[in-house]
Symmetry: C2
Subunit: 615 residues, 2 copies
């Protein structure tokens, strides 16, 4: 199958991905972790997604010709949203075409600047006069005369005299919220780092930032090791409720993962971890509670009250997080119940309230969050989609990592794209949606989700596809997606009827949530101005396929739907870069109307209805 | 000798002391730890020191008769400053005659109220509505709606949900400086305690207070166990400078003593230690540094810079202090160099700046602090008196505890008062001063400090006294103060020539400091309006004796001299009772002009001069 794949290398980052021929550069970029500006929704109208193809053939289309001079076209300039890749290519993405910060998302094209960088701490280099008998001020008062009043951290109180004398009274003060958290010999003002984390039920992502200029230095993602204790939030709450030991295990499990990620991020970027002063954490309510070792038992019982609402800072030292010993961890505010910090971070990153449009945002993960902005009001709900979209509870499911089939097209036969251009070993969420949509299109799945047996398949179906359907030992139908031989063993990647059922449950939960939210605001899908799909996984969903399986309403203009990437991480990044953004997040959290789906009388009915695939 | 002692029991405290017949009730009260009001300086003029002698004979004097009706005199009412005790007595001291709080001192009689009680934390009992599906606010936001905004302590964040559910949402919030440091089931607002500490080089004193009303519940004093590492501040600094282990030992030594004192104070008062939320600490610069584990090395080297100037709060949990786990420790500000938090506390307690008088205050301890207030300006200096006044470095010296001779008169023979009315085992600082003054008066010591051998004694000396002088094996003269037989062993309490020399050094250091301070302000002793003697030990100094040996200038009206008790502890108490007082202390600390004696060119000359006893 690899002859259908081409390699696209993006500059200046150097990241390379394999995609199917014909894939738009915009999508290939997303695959490489680059979020390219598409305020017009990828329609080739706004011209914000300019890229330069410096190697490889990408024929110019009509929209390219209206946006570029013949000379520019000759130099390879193209609109990323319009240009399909045909062969191995090298593509240069100018800064202006990237969303400021690769994870940062804007929905308001009028204001696409990076926020003013103003982290919660600041560093100041100073040279103090040495003390003399005529001027023998206490050391900290001497410092205060130079940098203004502060409250010293106990550690600084203990080492300030020695440090000042070691560095001949020339050093860098690190201040955070009126506290002097460190004093470092010499000028270290350029060494100022922070890490933003998105803590998902299934996936953790960390992003190391240079806080002097906002540059992203390293990114790392991995599975949340708490999956060993249950794959959704309710399972984890239930486990945590069994006692302090269980809560400790969950807490230590996530802390150890974060500790290791911090070490790895600092190694990747080759920076000393004691110059990382702050971490921001955006996660759903349950994940944040467990990270902070707050017993989430009441959250798992009606009326689902969380321990806290406002965000807060914890010292990182007692959590053994390997950053500056006086560093701190900012935990995003919870809106209410299961609608947590990740949703607040998404609100912040998408600037959802900076518009007069009616906008629906869906953050797709193991816990799905749905936010509606309309008439200057915000509504939010959380719905338990389950981990199917992240590859769990699916027979051959896996995360979107090397070896995962991430895209599926059915033509005469199956066409696949595999991450890392290797033999496929499973399929990830986006491929699951693709496959279900394509099987529906081919008439191979009924709208109730039944994978049809050979005798019921449409007569016009190509033979190659027909031959992929078989009946297993239990009498269940399955579809063979790929078959490889690894070390003499046959590896079959299949889709089972049960997989389709899991997908229906996930789709149903989100779709029912959307319906109830829209009703709460007296809206219908067609009256929405925009729909934003957030979530690390969300970026790779094909919009038409999502509509085909009913994840998104089909009675909605596809061009109103756009991907905003991992908006939760982008929000965590903004809160790290700017105290003002952090304060905005706190304000937003308190403005949201919470919609509780689990006790909504209409939810079960909507859910059952949403399980049926659109006709 | 005990036939010369009488027992005086004070009511309502029930404290009893043994004193020599003829001792004024004022002095007996001080001995029992009661500081009785004497704004007129004990002249029998102001009538503020009224007490009622309910048992035992105390003849009324002329001043009594001007202040009390015949009926009152009949009921035993007397002026404590004028009345000499003649036999075992019971004396009732009304609240109005005590300084507010037994350690609190006022110098301004116009304003002798206790400060408004307003500690750094406050407790509020609240009953919250239970959460429902219609009202499922996060727990901390629910609390915030009731008590206003706060930042939760991590521990509260972790236990709030469980606690609220255990107590059916009825409990007591404990807030300190905008932080929610605890939430306790039920109404605990009456359980609100704090402990004030005076941390001296030689002596530690702790005072447990009920912070709802300012009542003193228990007091405890003991030797500072750091004396094992050196008996003055320079010796401790030198030891601390030998490395981190030494600093740890000093730090742990004081912390363990404080830990034990806290346990003992709470046991005495029978209160649970988790309802103690705050500790205040007043100590000299070195003691405070060691308590906080701040390396004092730079303080021991020219130009004697301390690590900090402003006071600060530490969490008590990392220090293993057994109070509320989220409690805190307030450490008094340092003025500069060796002039530390104890001096600030004295300034606060004596309200030295609330007057138009020129006032000299001397805080007598191992480190002597001298403060001058004149023309609205403050000067302060620290002088290394050494531990002689506290009984150390003296052959038979001891602390003012049971068995210590605390008062000496020489008449035909020696007359002694022994603490606890037991056989004497040593002498404490006040007796040392008494004895030296009396020996000077009798012509038994020369003004250079020589204890005269038998052949040089004045011919008119009573034989009993003459026989107490002997020559030891080394040819040194000594004076026998007492001789007892304990368990078959002969115990001799003597004064040696070397003891006299130690006393001279202590006196010289303080007296030289006073001279330099007065010169700095262009004053002479006779122009001072008042002299205050502070320090736990200072209360027991006989003013005439202190003048006789030159500790206080002799060219000064004795009636201008008054005792203010342990003003450092009184200041620590004020800072515990009132945030406003604490803030005043911080302001005062920054207003003081520091006089550095050790590098003053005149100090050595003044010192040598002050070593000579007045003629």
């Amino acid at each position: 199958m690899s002859d259908q794949q081409v390699r696209v290398t993006f500059q200046p980052s150097g990241r390379a991905v394999y995609v199917l021929k014909g894939t738009k550069l915009l999508e290939a970029g997303a695959r490489a972790g680059l979020t390219i500006n598409t305020p017009c929704g990828g329609e080739g109208i706004c011209g914000k997604c300019r890229v330069q193809v410096t190697a490889g053939a990408c024929p110019a289309g009509p929209n390219d010709k209206t946006h570029f001079s013949p000379e520019s076209l000759e130099q390879g300039w193209r609109l990323a949203c319009q240009t399909a890749v045909q062969s191995d290519s090298i593509v240069f993405v100018p800064d202006a075409s990237r969303l400021a910060g690769q994870h940062q998302i804007k929905t308001d094209s009028a204001d696409s600047e990076t926020p003013e960088i103003c982290p919660a701490f600041r560093k100041t280099y100073i040279e103090l006069p040495n003390p003399t008998m005529e001027d023998n001020l206490p050391d900290l008062l001497r410092l205060e005369h130079a940098i203004g009043p502060f409250i010293p951290h106990t550690a600084v109180l203990r080492h300030i005299s020695q440090t000042l004398r070691q560095c001949d009274f020339k050093g860098t003060a690190v201040l955070a919220g009126g506290r002097l958290i460190d004093f470092e010999p010499g000028d270290t003002t350029t060494q100022s780092f922070g890490i933003a984390f998105d803590i998902g039920t299934t996936t953790l992502v960390g992003l190391l930032l240079d806080l002097t200029n906002g540059t992203e230095l390293a990114v790392k993602s991995q599975v949340n090791p708490q999956v060993a204790f249950g794959d959704d939030v309710l399972a984890r709450i239930q486990y945590a409720s069994t006692g302090a030991d269980a809560l400790d295990k969950l807490n230590q499990s996530i802390l150890q993962a974060i500790q290791a990620m911090i070490v790895s991020l600092c190694e990747q970027a080759n920076i000393p971890s004691h110059h990382v002063y702050e971490i921001t954490i955006a996660g759903n309510t349950t994940m944040e509670h467990l990270l902070c070792r707050i017993d989430p038992t009441p959250l798992g019982q009606i009326p689902f009250a969380s321990a806290y609402g406002r965000g807060f800072a914890l010292e990182t030292h007692p959590l053994a997080l390997p950053i500056n010993a006086q560093g701190s961890l900012y935990v995003f505010p919870v809106i209410r119940g299961f609608v947590g910090g990740d949703t607040v971070a998404c609100l912040l990153a998408t600037r959802l309230t900076h518009t007069t449009d009616s906008v629906l945002m869906i953050d797709i993960g193991t816990n799905g969050e749905i936010v509606l902005f309309h008439n200057n009001q915000l509504w939010a709900a959380s719905t338990a989609a389950g981990p199917a979209f992240e590859g769990a509870r699916i027979c051959c499911g896996m995360r979107a990592s090397t070896g995962a089939i991430e895209k599926v097209l059915l033509e005469d036969d199956v066409r696949l794209n595999v991450i890392g251009n290797v033999d496929p070993i499973g399929l990830c969420g986006s491929a699951l949606i693709d496959l279900a949509a394509e099987l529906l299109n081919k008439g191979m799945i009924s709208n109730t989700g039944k994978l049809l047996p050979p005798e019921d398949l449409p007569p016009e179906l190509p033979d190659a596809l027909r031959q992929r359907i078989s009946i297993d030992d239990q009498g269940h139908t399955e579809f063979l997606l790929a078959e490889t031989t690894a070390k003499g063993n046959l590896l079959r990647v299949v889709l089972t009827e049960r997989d389709v059922r899991e997908l229906q449950l996930a789709v149903g939960a989100i779709r029912a949530g959307i319906s109830i939210m829209l009703k709460a605001a007296n809206l219908t899908p067609s009256t929405l101005d925009r729909v934003l799909i957030a979530g690390g996984f969300g970026s790779f969903i094909r919009r038409d396929h999502a509509q085909r399986i009913g994840l998104l309403p089909s009675d909605m203009d596809r061009h109103k739907i756009s991907h905003v990437g991992n908006a939760s991480l982008a929000g965590a990044k903004l809160a790290l870069l700017s105290s003002e953004q952090r304060a905005q997040g706190e304000t937003l959290a308190r403005q949201v109307n919470h919609v509780e789906l689990s006790t909504d009388l209409n939810f079960q009915m909507e859910f059952a209805e949403a399980m049926i695939f659109p006709g």
